[in-house]
Amino acid sequence: MLLIMPALVLTIVFKVYPLIQGFITSLHRKGEWLGLANYERMLSDDIWIQSVGNSLKGFLLLPLFVLLPLLVAFALFRAIRGWRTYRAIYLLSYLLPAAMAGLIFSLMLGYEGPINSTLRAIGLGDLAVAWFSDATTAMWAVYGLVFWAWFGLGSIIYLAALATIPEDQFEAARLDGANGLQLFRYIAIPGVGPTIGYWGVVTTAGMFLWLFPFIATSTRGGPGYASTTPEVRIYTTFTKGLNQEYASALGLTLFAIVLVVAIFQVRWMYSHANQS
């Protein structure tokens, strides 16, 4: 019982207490009781609404984020002798600090950067825009960067999952004349089902919580608020020392959204640690 005290005390002092404190703060303004006014204010806060909308754009891309790494892992797993080499390459994008990835992509996607030079060279100069500073492309460019950063990690996780499928399942299906696509559809996908769920939950939560470092060094939320996500909005509200009570209300709203996703993750972890 004593052994859990360090973990428990730290958790309560620096997580549970601030969460409760944040909730109380969010009901006030300059020490005065406001009730839910800070929450109502959100409904007419265009910047906040835009930031939530920007997150929803990411949700449209989630199927790609979840399934494309599986396809890559499958290709890696089926076809290649040197799959370890490829795995090593994909690890690179996981290890590159997100803030540094943002920096690198802001160089590559600059108006005079190599991507645009390539586009111009192959006669697609019309498509060459300043990706991170154009309001229509900024958010999508950020998601492109995030996809680049995450798909290696996803592939590696799926690769480990594929390796647990008994080889004779593939062999039997192949003898029945299944082609690669059928093997993928009828053996690989069911075989790694739980991992698809895991990676789905992780990327969904990540859409809300892990974009900050990418954005901090690429678009910084701009132009205007075109690539501001809720977490970025909370951070800037906090650092500009604007309205801490309102920032707390924003934080708790994000908490409510993330809760829905992350509860699945915790439930899974708990049952996983308690079985076997």
């Binding site: 973990a7 601030p18 969460l19 690179l92 997100a98 895991y198 996983h272």
Partner: protein, 292 residues
């Protein structure tokens, strides 16, 4: 399937002995996809290296003569190296060690010992995974300030530890579940105290999970910028990645592509070093828990 067997399978290549035969059309397509994607992964990194070693093009700052490393030196100086790197190593290693201690103790209690409220408290610790930094940014900052922890390395380490506890405790717990209970019971029968059992019997059997949690926690704490932004205020105390993320927004950097690229390279290099040392542990770490 237990966690330890899935580790074994992760570490070992899939046991498939295919007879040599001509590659099918599917295989060719698969190889093509992989080659293209590998290029996509490598290209930004290669571009960064080349740019960092390049000549300044119309930049306000440039070297005299042929000096390949001028940009890297400039980024080094302005990134307050090696101080920033030392800050990173101190805070990340500190977090790794404290997390080892705090989480192995907790996981030991949660999995091996019996006490009232065990299930509930375990669930509580795991459930705080649901509380990310962004949600409690302001009250957390107030809390750090009232403990006098703002702008200190101890404060940053503590911040990393608090947010690392749920996952690391989970990883230790899942591993401890796979240990042979008889050995642990035998130690108890021999009169070893709980702590003696943990340090002399359980932890020596836990080298794989120590390696996994160590590397995973090192990588994420080294890469993190949000907690450093929040807790560390002076540039002398900032860890490297947060330092670079901030200074690259200055005029000096944004006016020179090679220096920007050099800065990115500088932030990337330490993780590559860790990667070269512990590639297998990293793969184990990130796949542990994801594979049933």
């Amino acid at each position: 399937m237990t966690w330890s067997t899935s580790i074994a399978e992760t570490a070992a290549p899939p046991t498939r002995r295919k007879p040599r035969r001509l590659p099918s059309a599917g295989n060719v397509i698969a190889i093509l996809i992989l080659v293209v994607l590998s290029v996509v992964v490598i290209l930004p990194v290669a571009y960064t290296i080349i740019t960092a070693l390049g000549r300044p093009s119309g930049a306000s700052y440039g070297p005299e003569g042929e000096d390949l490393f001028w940009a890297i030196r400039a980024a080094w100086d302005h990134g307050l190296m090696p101080g920033s790197l030392i800050n990173s190593v101190v805070t990340s290693m500190g977090a790794v060690v404290v997390l080892w201690i705090v989480c192995s103790l907790a996981a030991y209690a949660f999995t091996i010992m019996r006490f009232r409220g065990r299930e509930f408290l375990f669930l509580l610790v795991l459930a705080t995974l649901l509380i990310p930094v962004q949600v409690i940014m302001y009250p957390l900052f107030i809390q750090f300030r009232s403990f006098g922890l703002v702008d200190t390395h101890i404060g940053l380490i503590l911040g990393f530890v608090v947010f690392g506890i749920p996952l690391t405790t989970f990883q230790f717990a899942a591993y401890f579940k796979t240990l042979p209970l008889e050995t642990i019971d035998a130690a108890k029968v021999d009169g070893a105290s709980t702590l003696q059992t943990l340090f002399r019997v359980v932890l020596p059997m836990s080298k794989p999970i120590l390696a996994v949690t160590g590397i995973i926690n090192f990588v994420w704490t080294y890469n993190d910028v949000l907690l450093p932004f929040l807790i560390i205020q002076t540039s002398e105390n900032k860890p490297l990645v947060a330092q670079l993320a901030i200074i690259t927004q200055s005029q000096f950097f944004s006016s020179s592509l090679p220096v920007l690229a050099a800065a990115a390279l500088l932030g990337f290099a330490p993780t590559v070093a860790v990667y070269l040392v512990g590639q297998r542990q990293i793969v184990r770490g990130i796949t542990a828990g994801a594979v049933k």
